[in-house]
Symmetry: D2
Subunit: 356 residues, 4 copies
């Protein structure tokens, strides 16, 4: 009898999700004769038995489409005992042998926990976060699409900033880690890059370099800042900076330009250089996946079907160097992958050096 | 002796400015043997005699570059008597015969006024506004680039909105006229389009259609709203809507998602549909000009040089149907070109019809 | 009883076709209570009664998608008496009151002829050609998308040409008229533009200007040439130029870089400047429609439904200046709209002037 | 005294070259107080002492620009004894301490050879090829930009192919290795992918799968083929296939759609499915670098300056997993990095399975 495999996507959507699903279905059906069941809206769909069939024709033309054909939600199936029981019961009712769970630390953590509770609840995880800060894998899909969009946006801001002799502050995603801001900032030719991993001094790390650029005759400047960049408040010289309290969405992303707006105002006040800001927000999450993300997602989907065929469970697919392979999930999945030292140093390379 | 022509760009930057300058210089030098002087930072450069030479080599490789190689400012040379005198004196000191002034209603209005004061201050205007709301010309350059960027952004939001079962509110430029919002909204397949020309009722024009979409099983919705869209406050049923007071930039553009944020909150409260918002802001202003804008700008630049060669003054270049031609500037330049009835009706075509 | 309207698309596909269909269905259903029948594969579908229903849900999410959801063919329903009879009979069998025919001179010409034969075969035409050379309308949709793609391609070639000190010859669509080549050439900053309307002398119009550029120290050059550009053969100085015989597709487009390849070889031989070429071919026809094309197509679709509602027949929708309106179709539909004098003159503006 | 470092770029241009130069100059000047000399047109510039200064201001705004600001050529400085002597002599005359040579197997091989001949000719290589087939490094920059362009092009072809019920054959770069074709083919959703590493049978690998697709009701198909894909001629069933002899450019790339054209004709003849083809050619080489390429190139440039600072010579910079580091250059640099088994298997995953 054919192995029956459920697939779900949880958490924030991300370009490449459809490519994972597509590749798993192609590999599973063409090479292992598996059957697939699409579970809609993440764990919510498992709790509610909201499913769709997944055949080759359903997934064929989806690789260029962003988002997830299975839809997504933030439902956590391990929130209550009742949820846990329902999830495990429905897994059986749907006659599933395996579940491929595509998601971030929450989705994968829940899958891991359910499998620990019931070893028949066999799971293969596929790591997903646009922020590239997930434990265990070198790169997550969606990230490359996000930085391409962000770099193109920053490219566009150069000419308007230069024409008006302005500083342009661009706020990028990344509450805990600066991957998007660093890579988009480097790629977009930002003069100053501020990331969560390295709390900044508003004078030393922002205003002084800008004053130096201005003094050197530079007509404009670009500042790339993570939504989660943190101020070294104790070093603030005059205490005037107040980052306004702002709404954050369920991914923790700042809804309204909190930090970018605050920095633009500080720059005008302290440096006397006209400043504007842009918050890229949801734009970073949308659109067709980049070529890199399409290929990586396809490799992840293939590896997930292979892992099922090999009878593995409690594993997640990971990119290690050039190789895509299953690794064992552990509690470490909760850890954030922060920027390594090479990258933190790179963040400062293109700023003017100041004596302070 | 060669005719000496100054060129300046004033007001907000706009994709296509370099193409106007480039075409004017090519036409003027190659066909009329003119000399060109670039005046930097708009009228400010005339007041300060801040100029650069403009030869073929200076303008050759500029057509793909956004912004303005001459830089820009918001200085108004008719603000004081002293400014007026200085402007006219410097025009003479620079030995200019003509000035090609590229800008919006303020820049062209000032040019017109200076010429009225001194008929030797010969001016040819080229209309520029990204908002497409300028009097006298069918289309302004920069607008097409802006709507292409906005449509691509809205395209990208569909997949993320759909994946999460959300309403996405997109705020677009347009304080007084809805050209960008209407065309980007239609192009981006928005379900609801709110423009300054047609004040809206929050229940009848926003919430009711959304409820109907949801009831019909639609998974998501896109709302396109002009920064300057206006609420029919007297019809607001419960008085709860408060558009927060927000900063506006010097073009009157809302700096921080005032209206989009307010509408997303109202939709969540009143309709119970999860909502997010995006403010495109300065992204609409940047980037390489679209093909349409490059060609239109080139035609404007050619026509400006031709107008100088013909000895015209007090004219502005305009697109009338398929023809680019000089028209007389009048006080009407201050008028806003609002959306015609055909477009206002189109704005409502793709919304669900409700009984209310 | 509701008016029943068939829609078909004929000839080469073109970005914007889906937007026309979508807008006609929205307008027709929401404002006039019409019923729509999609006829697949152009006239072929009418001859074979190959139809699909067209409701709001079928067309809603199609505006960003290139090509035509109704598919297309080159079948001519007036080719034989039998075809004519079948077309008219099937129109009745399908209980159609109107046909909206979207296509070029062939499709519209056939619609016009069938209506002349049988006045109950009521037709409203919508003009379509990517080449922008259709009679009766100022602009056709699809053209703007094509020139945006072509301009972006030419933009990309500048850096590689410059890095290698080369001439790059780009071949663009346009067998009879140079619209795409002229506008993409101007937009892409081409040094030399060769169009069907102005047969060229290989020495005077190509090699001499290139020699002059080279002598002036220019590192590279871009030549934009229409597939249908014609050589003034009698003026060829040494008779060595042979344009190879090439395949043309059913739109008359050169399949394999006939003219671009020939010109690149001639430039290497005569000027001694390393040359490469690129044939854009089908790339010009694909992809999501530009913002301009989405809006224009939508206006065409609305106007087509309005024309049906007004009981018109034998008309086509046209853009005249800023207005979209029905005009009477005549035999003139067979005429090609060539580049006007303003444009032909613009084609030469950015080439170096030579004494010859 | 400051270390003096020459930089040159050799071979085909590639997006990312400017980012390497820029990052090396920033790192070298800001952290090691080095001096830089730009050598123009590759080794040709060293033979002719054609140099420019390279300071921060010269490289600052170059990261978004394709091609190479230093220009390039195919000159081989080890071609003759005289060249070798001149190269070494000029290295001294220019008072260089180091040379950073950015290029492919030829450029790096020559650098390695000159250093072997004279150990004072200290060299650090940076690997460059758009084809991603260079020995020693996991990924080369430029490749990601190329596949993004190719994937976008293939995306665009889907709608036109589908509208016309056609097969579209796309020819991609890759004479010896199928990296671009495989990744662009997977990313673009190609039905059939033909690469140099796996010679193909025209019936079994092309026509049979197409017949099966057609029989299953698929409306269209996309074939991605490397310019260097090879036919298993001995297995050709009827001997009718003749790949025409074609020009190849200096990188070995087919100038005129040799294989794509031949395959399109064969498909029409053997399968009876209307077919068209497109040759992407130089379009794959141009344009602004992708985000990935900008970051990778920046890391390469930084690592090159670091290697100079450490006093290394005879090394090249390589990406190994997540780490960028210097490795020793060896004769193996001449080897082609072919697609690994995982990728070859992936190439066949999305084709319909046939019994043959």
């Amino acid at each position: 009898m054919a192995t029956r495999v459920g697939i779900l996507t949880g958490g924030g959507d991300c370009p490449g999700l459809n490519a994972v699903i597509r590749a798993a279905v192609y590999r599973g059906k063409n090479e292992y004769n598996m059957e697939f069941v699409g579970i809609r809206y993440g764990w919510k769909g498992l709790l509610e038995k909201d499913t769709i069939p997944l055949n080759i024709d359903d997934v064929r033309d989806t690789i260029a489409i962003g988002g997830t054909m299975l839809r997504t939600s933030r439902t956590n199936p391990t929130k209550t005992e009742k949820y846990i029981k329902t999830a495990i019961k429905n897994f059986r009712d749907l006659e599933l042998d395996y579940l491929i769970a595509i998601g971030g630390e929450d989705t994968l953590g829940a899958a891991f926990k359910l499998w620990k509770i019931d070893n028949d609840f066999r799971v293969v995880g596929v790591p997903k976060t646009i922020d590239n800060d997930l434990w265990g894998t070198d790169v997550t899909f969606g990230f490359d699409t996000a930085i391409n969009l962000a770099v193109e946006a920053i490219d566009h801001l150069h000419t308007t900033a230069r024409s008006h002799n302005r500083v342009m502050v661009v706020e990028l995603m990344g509450r805990h880690a600066g991957w998007i801001t660093l890579e988009a900032g480097i790629g977009g030719g930002a003069d100053i890059i501020l990331i969560p991993e390295v709390p900044f001094d508003i004078e030393k790390d922002l205003c002084e370099p800008l004053r130096k650029l201005k003094a050197e005759g530079r007509e404009y400047a670009i500042v790339a800042v993570s939504e989660g960049a943190k101020l070294k408040v104790d070093e603030d010289r005059d205490g005037s900076l107040i980052i306004q309290e702002v709404d954050r969405d369920e991914f923790g992303h700042v809804r309204l330009g909190g930090i970018a707006k605050a920095l633009a105002e500080q720059i005008e006040d302290r440096v006397g250089w006209e400043s504007r800001f842009v918050v890229l927000g949801h734009l970073q999450r949308g659109g067709p996946p980049s070529a890199f993300d399409r290929v990586l997602s396809t490799r992840y989907g293939i590896a997930a079907a292979d892992a099922v065929a090999e009878g593995l469970s409690g594993v997640m697919i990971a990119l290690k160097g050039s190789v895509v392979e299953p690794i064992e999930m552990t509690e470490e999945i909760k850890n954030i992958k922060k920027l390594p030292e090479e990258y933190r140093r790179m963040a400062k390379l293109f700023s003017p050096k100041t004596g302070k």
